[in-house]
């Protein structure tokens, strides 16, 4: 099956999105709809003494105001541990915490009423430093303390490794609190239905998990909750966890009316999920020929106030803290620590960008000290299939570290880097650097990771593909229809897709973890096999052709024991059969044993990319411009070349933002970057020229040979930019984003 050649086709959603006719969940309106307002905490850390809603309730147009006592089910949510209250009752832990919910006839009235909710607080000291928060006398956010998770993974003996090393590089690195900033902020409509059920229309990354979390909050049978979460106006991980759904669900069930909310950008930036900032202490030992001997890593993850996915993110970071390099002695330790610094959760890359910024930096510094070039030192250390990883598991699936490294070395940018680095202005310096990254795909060991897909043969001989995975911009729905069409031997326009809803599509797990295309490839292929079996069986029953008859897709139909049938003919032939549905289910392959003490590790399948960056630094101001990027990416098997390039474009922009611009600044628990004039993301004028190098090293465990690529395309660019600044100026960047002032201060240490 992995020999299918995919033609470039337009995105299935291109026309609607380009013309503005696509209806996002936030575009929906219903008769009698009310508007919600979330009353947010005034303090980042405080006890709630009393909540008085009487003044708010008295305002004309207010329909209801809810407090913690009104939560009908369990007052908490969270993918791993439901420790985040939907409405806080006794304590607030960050400035975006909800203390009450208002529903009113207009958004304006709802906002006015929110200001009339009187809350008495007893202010507590703010915990804003993850290392300080670990001290025994630090104020505690949660009863169990401030440690969300502690993980230690060791292999060999790092002290022995450092004794044998010729060069030891040791530094502390810091990474930003990046915000997802999707165009569509957290939003949706909760609609109570006549039969007592609830329909939730809210863009999110996993309708089926939302359904279960909402059932727990409402205290309802999950079957009574219908979630429609597709399409999504951007996610990047920020809509993996619940956001506003619990609040509007409670309001809708209480009032019996549809309830809508659409957060302002300011409220989104204050209350929404972010990428965890990491403090990374990394000590790496090398032999004089560049061979890695030991890597000792301690990560402090600023968890923010609630658990969400902070544990798995810490563990994925630790899995990647020595990349897929051959390191005999490792010690990877991590602390996920609760603070009052907002809330952090899933974000494209899931902990990997943070640690690889540190590791690739130590790598280049060692190379410089040893007189090796950046390609040579990496080539000496990259692992191959069958070898043992730095955390001790054997790499059984395809490893493309060497392939992407070879490809980036041959890139036009790297080959001609000395010419690119020329500039005739005395104050400008240009530099080129490269980095590479693996990115574990899928949910990891011990977490059920499965996908289902249905293929329906419709009455007109076209198909409906039903699959849970949402489209939030990645282009996956185009890829899914191409994969189904390729197997069925029809044009992709013959395949319609129904996705991201608990009604009418089938659970295929979350649209996260670089897993959508890979999961879908196997689920769709399984459904297709079921299709052939069932058609053959039905024909055998009707025409007595024998039980071992075989059907094969060909040229818009199937060859059958009774001759070629077009899909139109098959649809007519079996029009009495109900349903004309074929089902495929797939469970991810995982490692046979867990890494001791590290839940979810190891991952089994990886994505691979290498990137090179050309930057220009203005030594007078510290301004850094990313001028050109080369990306070498292993797709396994490219389904849609344009979407692969688009993912690279977007990943590079998001990685550039991490490296140069983006950080949610919080001081004493208060968010200071509340809009786009202070939370800086790259604009089209800041993004670089691209050189794309697409490799197709088929992933053997995918029926179509595909790998996920959505995350890895933003990872190597981050260290590459930091290291290119070094190549340009000689200074090492240890803290991101590398803002003009930070670069200037590195250039002028006395300032």
């Amino acid at each position: 099956m992995d020999d299918i050649h995919f033609e470039q086709v337009d995105r299935v959603d291109a026309l609607g999105k380009a013309c503005g006719t696509t209806e996002y969940m936030s575009d929906l309106s219903f008769p009698g709809m009310l508007y919600a307002w979330f009353v947010r905490s005034k303090y980042p850390h405080a006890l709630i003494k009393n909540v008085d809603i009487s003044r708010a309730m008295a305002l004309n147009g207010v329909v209801t105001v809810l407090t913690a006592a009104d939560v009908t089910g369990f007052n908490g949510f969270g993918i791993v541990n439901p420790d985040m209250p939907v409405i806080c009752g006794d304590k607030v832990r960050y400035i975006g915490d909800t203390v009450a919910l208002v529903a009113a006839t207009t958004e304006r009235i709802a906002e006015q009423a929110a200001a009339l909710v009187d809350v008495d607080y007893e202010v507590l000291p703010v915990v804003d430093d993850p290392i300080e928060a670990l001290k025994p006398d630090a104020p505690k956010l949660h009863d169990k303390g401030n440690v969300c998770l502690h993980t230690l993974i060791t292999k060999g003996n790092v002290e022995q490794g450092f004794r044998e090393a010729d060069v030891v590089i040791e530094h502390e690195y810091r990474t930003p609190r990046q915000a997802h900033v999707p165009l569509e902020t957290e939003s949706g409509v909760a609609v109570p239905e006549a039969d007592g059920s609830l329909s939730m229309y809210a863009g999110s990354q996993y309708a089926f998990r939302d359904q279960l979390q909402l059932a727990r909050i409402l205290g309802m049978n999950p079957r009574m909750i219908h979630v429609y979460s597709n399409p999504v106006g951007g996610g990047f991980g920020g809509k993996d966890e619940l956001t506003i759904q619990g609040g509007i669900a409670l309001l809708a069930m209480k009032t019996g009316k549809p309830v809508k909310v659409f957060l302002s950008r300011e409220e989104s930036l204050v209350s929404g999920w972010k990428r965890h900032p990491f403090i990374i202490r990394m000590k790496t030992g090398f032999k004089s020929d560049g061979t890695m001997l030991a890597n000792d890593v301690t990560c402090y993850e600023d968890k923010g106030a609630y658990t969400s996915l902070g544990g798995p993110i810490l563990n994925l970071a630790l899995e990647h803290a020595s990349s897929l390099y051959r390191v005999p002695n490792t010690r990877h330790e991590g602390w996920a620590v609760f603070t009052n610094n907002g809330v952090c959760g899933a974000f494209r890359g899931f902990g990997v960008p943070q640690v690889l910024f540190a590791l690739e930096s130590n790598m280049d510094e060692a190379a410089e000290q040893l007189g090796l070039d950046p390609v040579t030192i990496r080539r000496k250390n990259v692992l191959h299939q069958g070898e043992v990883s730095p955390i001790g598991h054997t790499l059984r699936t395809g490893v493309s570290m060497d392939l992407v490294l070879d490809a980036i070395e041959k890139s036009e940018l790297w080959q001609h880097r000395e010419e690119y680095k020329k500039t005739d202005k005395p104050w400008l310096r240009r530099g080129v650097a490269l980095a590479l990254a693996p990115q574990g795909a899928g949910l990891g060991l011990g977490i059920p990771d499965y996908g289902g897909a249905y293929i329906d043969l419709d009455g007109d001989g076209s198909f409906t593909l039903r699959i849970g995975l949402v489209e939030y911009g990645q282009g996956t729905h185009t890829g899914f229809t191409q994969m189904a069409a390729g197997l069925l031997h029809v044009h992709p326009s013959r395949v319609r897709i129904v996705a991201g809803q608990t009604e009418g599509s089938v659970d295929a797990g979350p649209a996260t973890a670089s897993r959508s295309m890979y999961t879908a490839s196997n689920a769709i292929a399984a459904a297709f096999r079921d299709f052939g079996v069932k058609v053959a069986g039905a024909l055998a029953a009707k025409y007595h052709t024998g039980a071992d008859a075989v059907c094969e897709a060909k040229d818009g139909g199937m060859t059958t024991p009774v001759g070629f049938r077009t899909y139109e003919e098959l649809a007519q032939e079996f029009s009495q059969e109900s349903p004309l549905r074929w089902e495929g289910y797939f469970v991810w392959p995982t490692a046979d044993r867990e890494i001791p003490g590290a839940a979810g590790l190891p991952h089994w399948i990886y994505s691979f990319a290498a990137q090179a960056a050309l930057v220009e630094v203005n030594t007078l101001t510290g301004e850094t411009h990313l001028l050109r990027v080369a990306t070498a990416l292993d797709t396994g098997h490219t389904v849609n070349p344009q979407q692969v390039e688009a993912q690279i474009d977007g990943g590079v922009a998001q990685g550039e933002g991490f490296a140069l611009f983006e950080d949610t600044l919080i001081s004493k628990g208060q968010v200071r970057t509340r809009n786009f004039s202070t939370y800086i993301i790259p604009t089209v004028q800041d993004v670089p020229e691209h050189e794309y190098i697409i490799l197709e090293n088929s992933e053997g465990t995918s029926a179509l040979g595909v790998r996920g690529i959505g995350e890895v395309v933003m990872v190597p660019i981050i260290p590459a930019v930091a290291l290119a600044i070094h190549d340009a100026t000689g200074v090492w960047v240890r803290q991101l984003p590398s803002t003009p002032e930070r670069v200037y201060r590195l250039l002028h240490p006395g300032l």
């Binding site: 202005k425 104050w427 101001t621 411009h625 202070t678 800086i680 004028q685 003009p740 201060r745 002028h748």
Partner: protein, 293 residues
């Protein structure tokens, strides 16, 4: 939440001035709205009447008369950036206008609004200062002219009385032998408030020396400031293209600015950065008439 306010759209200058007199300090003018609407959202507009000037067509012009460039207060940043008159006779202003915000903002934001707003970070202001611009101000009874250097009294404050309106800016044309430039430091290439900005004017004499210099810095003091001592340093430069000499002259700017720390940058970095902005732009401009030894 945007508060409730009274809204009047003036159809011509006469009506705008009548409304200004009628509402006095209760009103706030809105021209392109790129600043007022943001402030409304943030609850920073204290006035309860908005007088919209965007329909006052007679304020939107750029023309040259008898060696003087006249720019209407309603001319947009896009108008200035595209105007052959401004590009030729007030190059620094065209450059500054082209660096404001984004295309969308430049299409509606006006030079009159940028000046009347009196932000120390306003991008057109240093350019207008080095061009020796004069601000024409009107009220219902008449007009008065104020040199732009005397117009600003503090951050967000100016000599404008509540019944007055900026109608025009005018400045003498620059010609051969006169160099002007603009530089801006922000947090990215576009859509950025200036962390610091700078404009200069150099008149080159027969001996190719700079015989007159005007230099202004923004975002580094309560108002945009002239840097007289730095100007004198540039007038003493030998007419040779030397990076070290030009940077050395620019270094004096350090002594002439008084920035503060804010979310965008620290004061000490701003002092360093304005030196760099000036050195870089001056070097590029002087390279057109000076040569290395």
């Amino acid at each position: 939440m945007i508060k409730e306010f009274e809204y009047h759209a003036a159809q011509d200058l006469k009506e705008a001035l009548e409304l200004a007199e009628q509402f006095g300090p209760r009103k706030r003018f809105l021209s392109g709205g790129t600043d007022v609407t943001v402030r409304l959202k943030e609850g920073l507009v204290t006035e309860d009447v908005i007088v919209d000037l965007s329909h006052v067509a007679e304020l939107r012009f750029v023309r040259e008369e008898s060696g003087v460039v006249h720019v209407g207060a309603g001319a947009t940043h896009a108008d200035l950036g595209a105007s052959p008159i401004v590009r030729q006779h007030g190059h620094a202003l065209a450059l500054a206008a082209s660096r404001v915000g984004s295309s969308q903002i430049r299409n509606v934001g006006t030079v009159g609004g940028n000046v009347a707003n009196a932000s120390p970070a306003g991008d057109t202001i240093p350019a207008l200062i080095v061009l020796d611009a004069v601000v024409s101000i009107a009220n219902r009874k008449g007009t008065r002219d104020v040199p732009i250097i005397d117009f600003f009294t503090g951050p967000g404050r100016s000599v404008l009385a509540s019944e007055e309106l900026v109608t025009e800016l005018y400045f003498p044309v620059t010609g051969p032998g006169e160099l002007t430039g603009f530089g801006k430091l922000g947090s990215r290439q576009a859509m950025t408030i200036s962390t610091a900005n700078m404009a200069f004017y150099f008149r080159i004499g027969d001996n190719r020396r700079i015989v007159e210099a005007r230099i202004a810095f923004g975002s580094v003091a309560p108002t945009v400031v002239r840097a007289h001592r730095t100007e004198r340093m540039f007038c003493q430069l030998p007419p040779l293209l030397s990076w070290d000499a030009i940077r050395g002259a620019a270094q004096m700017a350090w002594k002439e600015v008084a920035p503060i720390d804010d979310l965008r940058a620290t004061a000490v970095y701003r002092k360093e950065a304005v030196v760099g902005l000036l050195a870089e732009a001056a070097y590029e401009a002087l390279a057109s008439c000076w040569h290395e030894r």
